[in-house]
């Protein structure tokens, strides 16, 4: 990252050291307009990070957004200008879609007529103007999530926090919504943080990816960098790469570069492992098998080879990969 981006962020963007004892110790910097995807395994602290930024979890450390400290003195949740989108939407069940979206504006003192006009325009931007009078229980999952995102964006927050906004939605609905969200995020001037389990979200929506692992930042970088050179097993699995940590370097290779055989492989392959097939599942035109060796590895084989080698769970196999297919990169970030 260029130095210029950091200095911009420190004045107009977000600079934070989030410290939640036993759960999270993370530094992060984001520039205005930036969309940062937060990924990591369950329990890595993703949701804790969002909740700490929103002020819902007590934290030590420091947090400055748009030149104003939210930690010294501590700023209440209601006075932090955040928009939070929950995975389960959490729309107010007793209010119409319109009143839900207008809620943040009304709470901040905008008169009813003005708040409703703004809320209407937000519903229109999400293509759900005709649903304004509906109660949340009369909305589909995708419609409710559109209302929830519109509700978070309507008061024009400095910080938009999205906690797995596509979780629990049908794949088709999630795909449509992802495209819509990308459009809204492009015109959003504040900082957006998106917690996700989906590599696709990170690759399509984010300018930058923050990888959390056991409460610490394991990696930050552009989605392309992180996808090409993952530093955690979790991200490697998300983007479908095998990653091996060796002393001070990472070695990654694609599952399609792995050769599977029943006998010990001959020849010059330097990387070879003996292990047991854990699972086999269709993956595109191939079959992706997961093998438990001294570490878990994935390999893509043809359906014909799967049948020929009898690759069912429990089968003992050898895996090997040619040195030329392995990408090696330094372990330390930078």
């Amino acid at each position: 990252m260029a130095d210029g981006a950091v200095s911009t962020a420190s004045t107009a963007g977000l600079t934070a050291h989030i410290l939640v004892p036993d759960r999270l110790d993370a530094h992060l910097v984001a520039a205005p307009g930036e969309v940062m995807a937060v990924i990591g395994p369950n329990g890595a602290g993703k949701t804790t990070l969002l909740r700490a930024l929103a002020g819902l979890v007590p934290m030590a450390g420091s947090l400055t957004v748009a030149g104003r400290s939210w930690t010294d003195p501590p700023v209440l949740v209601r006075d932090r200008n955040v928009g939070l989108v929950f995975q389960d939407q959490s729309l107010f069940p007793h209010l119409s879609a319109l009143d839900n979206v207008a809620f943040g504006l009304r709470a901040r003192g905008v008169p009813r007529a003005g708040a409703e006009a703004t809320a209407r325009s937000w519903l229109a931007r999400f293509g759900i103007a005709e649903l304004a009078a509906r109660r949340p229980r009369e909305l589909s999952g995708g419609q409710a999530q559109r209302v929830a995102i519109a509700r978070a964006l309507a008061p024009d927050p400095a910080l938009l926090l999205l906690d797995e906004p596509f979780g629990g939605l049908d794949v088709g609905v999630a795909t449509t919504l992802r495209v819509e969200l990308a459009r809204h995020l492009a015109s959003y001037a504040g900082i957006a943080l998106l917690v996700t389990h989906d590599a696709l979200d990170a690759l399509t929506l984010a300018d930058r990816v923050l990888v959390l692992d056991e409460g610490r930042v394991a990696q930050t970088g552009s989605p392309q960098e992180v996808a090409a050179r993952p530093r955690t097993d979790h991200v490697a699995r998300l983007v479908g790469l095998n990653v091996i940590r060796e002393d001070d370097v990472f070695r990654s290779f694609s599952p399609s570069a792995v050769t599977v055989s029943l006998g010990q492989p001959e020849g010059s392959a330097r990387h070879r492992w003996r292990g047991t097939v854990v699972s086999a599942a269709p993956h595109g035109d191939a079959v992706r098998i997961l093998v438990a060796a001294d570490r878990e590895l994935i390999a893509d084989v043809t359906p014909a080879a799967t049948a020929e080698l009898g690759l069912v769970p429990g089968r003992e196999v050898w895996l090997s990969v040619k040195e030329t297919a392995v990408r090696t990169y330094a372990r330390a970030p930078g």
Partner: protein, 273 residues
């Protein structure tokens, strides 16, 4: 409905007849509950029903009962709702103790409640003597005392009902409202209270019902003076000796009111699972 009845019949035919050892005591219990009410309806002198309502004493008692129960409900709404909110949402020292204390009047014999009120607000009571010395006002044997007694015995029903509703709807939406910039009062008005409305309605009806039938605490603390402190139950108790027919008529009025309350709450508690 048909399917449920069918299911019941099918279950009876597979499991056999209900045993007499359960049917007989169950029947006795049912008779004990139903027979007095049926007798009351049969014994009510319907012919003079309206005439008996026209006497001054009855009109006064009806007025005082209606007034006391209405004021009680208003007092519950204005004072009990904040108390329920504090118990459900604010973590303060002694909260568990306060919640237990709030529930005590539920199980307290009403006469004891009356004695307690006398010792607090009576002429020589803890607060009552201060009130008398500073303002010259004494509460016992006034309509105000009736209202205080009714509120004392009815408030627990309201507070516990609303607190339950507040706990059931949870703090989740309070958190959402805070992230949208709402302060706690705005959140209470626009989110917490509307979501607890079923509990508020149920609590109001319960408090009203309790107030309507209140007798022991009232007669102990406020006395039984026609026109100022005589409520319907007090009047019924008094007339039963002299004129049982009038007592039955008045009882019928309260029975009708009680059944109306039950009908209003039917969907809430009386629907079989």
């Amino acid at each position: 409905m048909t399917t449920r009845a069918d299911a019941r019949r099918a279950r009876a035919s597979t499991l056999g007849r209900p045993p007499l050892v359960l049917v007989v005591p169950g029947g006795i219990a049912a008779a004990l509950l139903v027979l007095p009410l049926v007798s009351l309806v049969l014994d009510t002198p319907w012919g003079g029903f309206l005439d008996q309502l026209r006497t001054q004493a009855v009109r006064d008692a009806l007025r005082i009962t209606a007034l006391a129960s209405a004021v009680t409900v208003v007092a519950c709404l204005l004072l009990g709702t904040p108390l329920a909110w504090l118990l459900a949402r604010v973590d303060f020292r002694g909260r568990a103790l306060l919640r237990a204390a709030v529930a005590v009047p539920l199980v307290l014999p009403p006469v004891v409640a009356g004695v307690a009120l006398v010792s607090a607000l009576g002429r020589n009571g803890l607060l009552g003597s201060v009130l008398r010395d500073t303002t010259g006002v004494t509460l016992p044997y006034t309509t105000t005392a009736v209202v205080i007694a009714h509120t004392f015995v009815s408030m627990p029903f309201y507070v516990l009902s609303v607190e339950g509703a507040l706990r059931a709807s949870g703090e989740r939406y309070d958190v959402v409202a805070a992230t949208l910039g709402a302060d706690r009062w705005t959140t209470f008005r626009r989110v917490t209270l509307p979501l607890a409305m079923p509990g508020v309605l149920a609590g109001s009806v319960l408090a009203w019902a309790r107030s309507l039938g209140e007798f022991g605490a009232t007669i102990t603390f406020a006395g039984n003076y026609p026109g100022t402190t005589q409520t319907m139950p007090s009047l019924i108790y008094q007339t039963l000796q002299a004129d049982p027919e009038v007592a039955r008529t008045l009882s019928m009025i309260l029975l009708v009111a009680s059944v109306a309350i039950l009908a209003a709450l039917r969907n809430r508690w009386l629907t079989a699972p």
